[in-house]
């Protein structure tokens, strides 16, 4: 390389390490970790001021988490909480998708069912819980119903929208190829609707988590709801916050997993 060629290349060479640092700093993973670190640092600071004697620091909460994990309380509580959650969510997914598809294909059914789900979606659930306990008592049924009321409207309405919004061009193509009604449902409508139905499932799962914890806090304290309310009543706030943190982390991981599945199955363009 001659000196005359080297001169213009020098600034670029000098900038190379700086650019590498900048690339590393704006890497999605680094930014995400920074975002978590900022929130946790704020939490730790707020606990140390202290914001309130009843607000533990992040490190104390981690200690509490360690304690409820070590004595097995957390795992037992999760098993109990998952019981109504799994039943309610399975029922919501099966009935929700079936109803949504039916409403999408058959307009009279939409007029018949859609208002119920629109109202259920808009209603504040905490206000409905006393009615649920009057109807179903304080047992498992009331909790399953709470999960269903939270999860089902999102799933049904998303499925309905997905089926209704099948691209016209695809349906016209089906008619041109003389597809029967069942063929166009199986081969065109359902595959085209799948991504949006799946997005509805993801939202439905998030709503189901909210439902089950609300039920456990407002109906009878069981599972994670029991760990939260028990530790509140004995003023063991690190353990109480640890239980809240654990259910948030669990819910986020579960929703993240669903999103991964969704991307793998239906959104090749979003894959990294």
């Amino acid at each position: 390389m001659q000196i005359s060629e080297l001169a213009p290349a020098l600034p670029a060479l000098r900038e190379a390490p700086a650019r590498r640092w900048r690339d590393l700093l704006i890497h999605p993973l680094v930014l995400r970790l920074l975002s978590f670190a900022a929130v946790l640092a704020l939490w730790e600071y707020a606990g140390r001021i202290p914001l309130s004697p009843a607000f533990p620091t992040f490190l104390e909460t981690l200690g509490g988490l360690g304690a409820i994990m070590a004595d097995g309380t957390l795992f037992k509580a999760f098993l109990i909480t998952l019981h109504p959650l799994v039943i309610g969510l399975t029922a919501s997914i099966l009935c929700g998708i079936a109803l949504g598809v039916l409403m999408g294909l058959h307009e009279p059914s939409e007029w018949l069912f859609a208002p119920i789900f629109v109202i259920a979606q808009a209603a504040p659930l905490a206000a409905l819980i006393p009615i649920l306990t009057f109807a179903y008592g304080i047992g498992l049924t009331a909790k399953v119903m709470t999960v269903c009321i939270m999860a089902m409207p999102v799933i049904v309405l998303n499925t309905l929208g997905a089926v209704r919004n099948t691209p016209k061009s695809l349906l016209e193509m089906g008619s041109s190829f003389l597809a029967t009604r069942s063929q166009s449902i199986r081969l065109i409508i359902l595959p085209a609707a799948s991504p949006m139905i799946f997005a509805g499932l993801r939202l439905g799962c998030a709503a189901a988590f909210i439902g089950v914890i609300l039920a456990e806090l407002l109906i009878t304290p069981t599972g994670i709801g029991d760990v939260i309310s028990y530790n509140q009543s004995v003023a063991d706030y690190p353990k109480m916050y640890a239980a809240i943190l654990s259910i948030i982390v669990f819910s986020v991981l579960f929703i993240e997993l669903l999103e991964r599945i969704e991307v793998t199955l239906f959104r090749p363009e979003a894959r990294p």
Binding site: P56, P221, S229, Q232, S233, V234, A235, D236
Partner: protein
């Protein structure tokens, strides 16, 4: 432009006067003693409201906020949204070093173990299922103390909040034994006395609802605290002599006017029984009462023991009560 300037001056003046008005409203509200009550106004809490009403007549105005749970009332006091609270703050004081002190023992945990008649004594309850209010609460602590005393162990423990719900469970045959409050024990025996009976309970009941406050607020408002504690003690002593005083005072002050006739008619009956059974102890608390509470709440799992090492002054502030006793000559 001129118009715009004039408008902005006007707007500024309006904002300043609004802020001043809000400020003075805030100061007025601040002058009232804010009391957090973890319950609605009911027969049981009526006496506390009457004591506060009497304090108001002595110049200490108050404002009660009702919360759905006692825990919320305690949090309101800790965070400075209320000055005094009604509840049992022992666990919060010990575990999160909240600067709260108990001033007066309002009610005591007078609860009655009730069981199916097939369980003749506590020995028959060995290994048998029993229902309590919730984990680590007074009813479970009473159960633990009895189990220790009798040398037995209960079988499966279930938790059903509310004495009224537990006696429904008993009458439906879902619960065989539990611990309920005075009113529901009487109701159960009245409705199904042929099937259920009362087993021996604990002799010295611990504090249930206490009047407590934040230490910094108490030290700045000693006079107000003295008036309130004196009125509580005065009413509690009057109740012991004449339980009908609560109903008389209620009528005079038109309290609970929206309640049905049946509830109002039951007030004197309730206070007659409750004072007889020791729910409202006329002494209002002492160092001995505090120590007995430490024993009980350590057993309940709310306090970490050993109970003998807990100091009364870390949980109670007895000076206003002592001054009230002197003032009343008791």
């Amino acid at each position: 432009m001129k118009l715009l300037r004039r408008r902005s001056v006007l707007f500024g003046a309006a904002a300043v006067s609004a802020a001043l008005m809000l400020g003075s409203a805030g100061a007025q509200a601040q002058a009232k003693v804010r009391v957090a009550l973890g319950d609605v106004l009911s027969t049981e809490t009526l006496s506390m409201i009457i004591a506060l009403e009497r304090a108001k007549e002595k110049g200490v105005d108050y404002q009660v906020t009702h919360f759905s749970k006692e825990d919320l009332a305690i949090q309101a006091v800790i965070n400075g949204q209320a000055d005094l609270g009604v509840g049992t703050p022992y666990a919060v004081v010990q575990k999160s070093k909240a600067p709260l002190r108990v001033l007066f023992q309002g009610t005591r945990l007078v609860f009655f173990p009730v069981a199916d008649k097939s369980y003749k004594t506590w020995k028959d309850m060995n290994g048998q299922p029993i229902a309590f209010h919730a984990r680590a609460t007074g009813t479970e602590a009473i159960g633990n103390i009895i189990a220790k005393r009798e040398g037995i162990q209960f079988g499966e423990r279930s938790y059903v909040p509310g004495s009224e719900n537990r006696i429904i469970g008993m009458m439906k045959g879902q619960i065989k034994a539990t611990i309920v409050d005075l009113a529901n024990k009487n109701l159960l025996l009245e409705k199904a006395g042929d099937r259920f009976h009362v087993l021996p309970g604990v002799s010295e009941p611990a504090s249930d609802e206490t009047l407590f406050g934040r230490t910094d607020w108490i030290s700045k408002n000693e006079k107000q605290v003295d008036v309130i504690v004196t009125e509580f003690l005065r009413l509690w002593q009057e109740m012991a002599a004449n339980p009908a005083i609560v109903e008389q005072e209620r009528v005079k002050r038109k309290l609970m006017a929206d309640q049905p006739k049946e509830v109002l008619e039951g007030i004197t009956k309730f206070y007659t029984l409750a004072t007889k059974e020791g729910v409202y102890a006329p002494a209002g608390g002492s160092a001995e009462v505090a120590k007995a509470d430490f024993e009980f709440y350590t057993e309940a799992g709310q306090l970490q023991g050993p109970a003998g090492e807990l100091k009364v002054e870390d949980f109670w502030y007895l000076a206003p009560l002592e001054r009230a006793r002197k003032a009343l000559g008791s």
